[in-house]
Subunit: 738 residues, 2 copies
């Protein structure tokens, strides 16, 4: 049969012929260029005059050196780049040298800026800037100074113009037509978002936050447990050589229409999709498996630079990331383009529930966890980003900080991206607005619901609802200091406040499903107090009972200790005890009963440790007299030994100094296949060393000579990483003298 | 160096280990099944009794035959399927035969329904239904009748339950544990959305629309021009054998989480992405190029069945589609799953402008179109779908018809899908709500802006704004009749009404950009009146001038005639004239001046015709005295010859009858490589024939014997398609007797 089956052929590429007149430019790369001569096709009124009469251009100087006028005024002096980098909505200057003095009365010239292929005036990709008083151009232009043959031109890119790499031309009008300068790469101009300009959608009216969220290269990412936090130092490196181009490449790789790139909302949303490799060959491959043989362990990275440069050079996704790596690199991307951004950490983050506000724990008849049927998990912590921008696409009041998340969660509108979602909207349950607000709302507001399962017909009965566990605390770094800031109140109203109830009801109106049942509170309370434990220690697990009734109570308790990934997924159980506890009736003041003979021996858990070394204890039980269920959860973050980073010699620009990283293996066992990494913005690029063996008790010392290239305060950050021991970090502060 | 560069390795697949406890089921296929015996692990109170005492199951009858109780009540009797198909939120019955009469007092059994892998009660993928009065299950169950050993059970799936293919079990409780029936495919149950059930989110409270938008298999798709419309008959075929499975396969192929498949919003959104092959190997490959060598020409299809069955069997995208094919197959998908849906056509549809409400036409100094710089185009028409559902994710008032579009437009939130967007929200400019409302708003509300370009500095000055051209008319089929219905007022308020202004201002608040300038109206009007022309005709193009001023006017007019794709993209210019017109001053009543000596000869355009045979005339000019610009546009749809379809013999179920398709080539040239297709729901499956040559003036006759398999009114639809002549359609009505 001559009419072929579709299956018989590979589906051909979609042709644009007949479909759209011009392909939409989706790259900073140049396409069809503006012609060097644009004929008017007519002869001037006075007939052909001698060419000499018209301006001839000798030179165009972009004034791009840090000691010249532009970069300090635009706070772009920190970028390591060969090109002029400015922020939109703010004037910059360039010098044009002609063959003779410029006569405003007779001479007519324009500075032209072009981005992407097939530039069009009406699409904002071709911008002619006239300096003549009478004409007004989309970007304001003026003559700042004109001496001898040199004209200094002031140009103010529109505060909503396209962000990216522009090409610069100067055009002179002759009676025959327009004569332009040749294409010259050195005149390429990078235009960024401008948090300093009131007209820009990312304007941030707080000097400290602006400094921190746009200009700070070093940061701290919090992890561990809300009541026992650990820190990761991070080098965002947004000013490092090549990073800006890498960020633009990410949008080019996504084939993002150039005309959308002035819109901070679209840029942030696109990036949240592109930072992960899912469905678009984006920047980072996620891996939570513990096996990082074919790449760098997520816990091993100390900064974003290496990752972004790898991606833009190899053009293939970089291995491997977990949530804080996604968030950190995303942060670099946003700050690099001039969008104020910060990394936030949410402790006990519900996930995958796509607007379902429940995380289910299934217990059997006796109150013991049914591991087979309990499929949900709660992340001990989850990192995402906030970026600051107005939201013209939403009603008043939802501008400001917007949550975005590049970690590939299962379900965010079906593909792997999330946000921007207005934090204000999340706080007030106004989750009907784009993008992905219900998903983020669930991450901080879900309930943990304990069900008791009836084996006879498989039905589940809710026996306890814990509404304060998830979203226990949201933190970020304080601007200008290495201190943390609790911003939970920006996401939620206080636990149990009337506002909180209203918000949850509002969210339900928008389709968030909650557990309606409110099982009676047990009259016995169970708690596991905080313990600070170092990796390799033996310790005692405490159970604190509190009988609030007037009768004695008998409780059969199931205590389970597990090694878990930070995603809350259980790796293996290393402890299981089923003590029976008899509690005296409460008299006068409450009677605390403390059960503390549960010894945890390091050899029980050390063999089973997975990265991030979290021990997860859950105690559940049934009160014999009342049949009520009691539960308690405790995450113990095992503290890792420190890595020492020291600097010797005078820290001075262009003068060599010494950096020493030291570590001693405190364990009774050997560490094998160890990677040590160190880097410092302005001081040293990312470097690492591999040690095949660090025997028990022995030490390593690594000394490097480095030469600071920039003055000012900075940090050196180091990490040590091997299968048996991860997230060992160290850092050193220093101030480089000019 | 032993630490490999990411570039050195292919990025490994993301592992779920440590990432999530259980993979999220994303297919109807079975995974880990419920066990045949679920032990309680304890001995019953009375010690082990003889098994005989407990119910033994002999048979489970799903009552799935059309003459049995279920399918007529659920309006699913039309589906050609071996399984029971019901709609959720409405009771269906099944019969369980035991080894002895059922004793409610002692016996305990449950009917269990399971979907996807690793079924979970709390995720709604494992549903045990108890018939006992005291227990209530997520799906209501009751004993309808119990005679001898046979119990008739009534089951009502929850009105928000997962839509798809469920597996059925019957479980009996014994003291040892639960005994289940073996897996039996014949008991699989398809649960659909239910437009008849008040509790369902797709409930449609209008019997006629419900009948049309869920149950009607044949439809009409409008195209051509708003004032000279053509029709395409289409066989949606949602009840044809295998189509329902193909629709479920589409969601499986998209790996759509099974837990989302009860949500009509998510299902419609996912499908809008999956119906096109872009970024997800979806159903249809778009092709607007005119070259369809490796597949079926979009104009050749007569129904959806062939496309969907091809896709589900080959699992690769089907070639080729243009907008009405996407809309028609999407319509089949929605109706097949029980979501009320219809195809709408928007005449003069702006596209690709992503919330920018302007389509730019650039004129040179003399008022002639600058083809090189005019890059935008307006589709002569564009088809999308509307589906009916409540919008719990939005504030009150935005439920009802939702616009969805599966045609891969350039920019809809960055990927190829669009909607659902509330039509109410579009009409009122409330485009801040998901999904993609700004995009759809622009398709019906954009302005056509004519710019005059200043060659000296490249700036553009708006000289005319046409705000009534785009979104000229939106139509769909009238329920129950082959007539069209103008639903423009559901998308927009009347042109020039105060409400219209308010809406446009509201939309601008949400970031839609419009042309602010309002250039003065010219005092000379230009119009090109409607012409009805058949392919191959010569005709005269009329230009109607109207001088509303008291002085004489001189106009230099540029008339350009082009063959265009229906996407508005110009293929080639076949006519260009530049008449000068002198207009007398207006006296008393207006003076019409008609210019009608512009002859269009068929040989000028025939050679250049592309599919859909649209001639696009645009006349622009400059009034000498005032410098004002006048413009007018006219699309001439060339009418194609008809295809005759005739039926002979008695149309009776299971009795052969004859279908004859006839066509005569009316042209002076030969038609080569011609495909003729015919199909009819319930009468004949899609068939086609290839004719290598139909010489000028000659005829073809194709007669087929067919055997109707279903009684009732239906249609036979035929198309004829070849490179030189496309969209030739014919149809025949008939009523098949039982």
């Amino acid at each position: 049969m001559s009419n072929p089956e579709p299956a018989a052929q590979p589906p051909p590429q979609v042709s644009h012929r007949g479909r759209s007149a011009a392909p939409i430019a989706s790259s900073n790369a140049e396409g069809e260029e503006v012609p060097e001569f644009d004929s008017f096709g007519i002869i001037g009124p006075r007939g052909p005059p001698p060419l000499r009469e018209f301006l001839d251009i000798w030179d165009v100087n972009m004034l791009r050196r840090p000691d010249e006028v532009n970069t300090p005024q635009h706070s772009t002096h920190l970028y390591a780049s060969d090109h002029l980098i400015v922020r939109r909505g703010q004037e910059f200057q360039l010098k044009v040298t002609f063959d003779r003095p410029y006569k405003p009365s007779d001479d007519q010239f324009a500075v032209e800026f072009v981005i992407g292929g097939s530039p069009q005036y009406s699409k904002g990709t071709y911008i002619p800037v006239s300096v003549a008083k009478d004409r007004q151009s989309p970007w304001a232009g003026r003559v700042v100074d004109s001496t001898d043959n040199v004209v200094t031109v002031g140009i103010t890119p529109a505060p909503d113009c396209i962000v990216g790499k522009w090409r610069t031309y100067v055009a002179v009008v002759t009676p025959y037509g327009i004569r332009r300068t040749r294409r010259d790469e050195s005149r390429d101009l990078y235009v960024l978002f401008n948090a300093w300009a009131t007209g820009d959608s990312v304007f941030l009216d707080d000097a400290d936050e602006r400094e921190e969220c746009v200009l700070n290269e070093v940061g701290v990412i919090y992890h561990g447990a809300y009541d026992d936090m650990s820190e990761r130092p991070w080098n965002f490196g947004q000013f490092d050589y090549g990073v800006l181009d890498a960020c633009l490449f990410i949008m080019d790789k996504a084939a993002m229409p150039i005309t959308n790139r002035g819109d901070a909302i679209k840029v942030a949303r696109k990036a949240s999709a592109m930072l992960n490799s899912h469905d678009d060959d984006g920047v980072l491959v996620g891996n939570w498996s513990g096996d990082y043989t074919y790449g760098v362990a997520p816990t091993s990275w100390t900064g974003s630079t290496e990752i972004l440069l790898n991606y833009s050079s190899s053009k293939t996704p970089v291995c491997y990331a977990q949530c804080w790596v996604y968030a950190a690199v995303f942060n670099t991307f946003l700050r690099c383009l001039g969008i104020p951004a910060r990394v936030v950490t949410n402790f006990f983050s519900a996930h995958d529930n796509d607007g379902n506000l429940k995380t289910d724990v299934i217990l059997d008849e006796n109150g013991r966890i049914d591991k087979h049927r309990t499929k949900d998990s709660i992340w001990n912590y989850h990192c995402w980003n906030e970026c600051y921008m107005s939201r013209p696409d939403l009603p008043q009041g939802f501008g400001g900080w917007q949550a975005v998340d590049a970690t590939p969660q299962e379900t965010s509108d079906g593909i792997y991206r999330c946000g921007p979602a207005s934090v204000q909207a999340i706080k007030h349950g106004q989750i009907c607005f784009p993008f992905d607000a219900p998903f983020l709302f669930a991450e901080v507001n879900s309930d943990v619901v304990f069900y008791s399962r009836n084996p006879r017909d498989g039905t589940l009965e809710p026996v306890k609802v814990n509404s304060s566990h998830v979203g226990r605390m949201v933190v970020t770094k304080v601007p200008g200091q290495d201190a943390r800031r609790d911003i939970t109140d920006q996401y939620k109203f206080p636990e149990g406040s009337p506002e909180e109830r209203t918000v949850l009801e509002k969210a339900e109106e928008y389709g968030c499903h909650r557990e309606k049942a409110t099982p009676p509170e047990a009259d016995v309370e169970l708690d596991m107090p905080l313990m600070e434990v170092r990796v390799g220690d033996d310790f005692e697990l405490k159970l604190e009972f509190n009988n609030t009734s007037d009768q004695a109570r008998t409780v059969d308790v199931y205590v389970s200790g597990n090694v878990v990934y930070y995603t809350g997924v259980t790796s293996s159980e290393f402890l299981f005890k089923t003590p029976r506890v008899i509690l005296d009736p409460k008299k006068g003041r409450r009677t605390k009963h403390i059960l503390s003979h549960l010894c945890v021996h390091s050899q029980d858990y050390m063999r089973k440790l997975v990265e991030q070394a979290n021990l997860h204890f859950i105690a559940t039980g049934k009160v014999k007299e009342t049949g009520q269920i009691i539960t308690s959860m405790r995450v113990v973050t095992l503290h890792t030994p420190k890595l020492s980073v020291e600097v010797s010699g005078l820290a001075k620009v262009s003068e060599e100094m010494m950096v020493t990283v030291e570590f001693t293996n405190p364990f009774k066992f050997n560490l094998e296949d160890v990677y040590v990494r160190v880097e410092g913005p302005g001081v040293m690029p990312p470097k690492y060393k591999h040690y095949s063996l660090i025997t028990a008790g022995s030490s390593l010392t690594w000394t490097e000579g480095v030469t600071p290239r920039r003055a000012g305060p900075t940090k050196l950050m180091a990490s040590l990483d091997c299968a048996a021991l991860r997230q060992v970090y160290g850092q050193a502060q220093l101030t480089v003298k000019p």
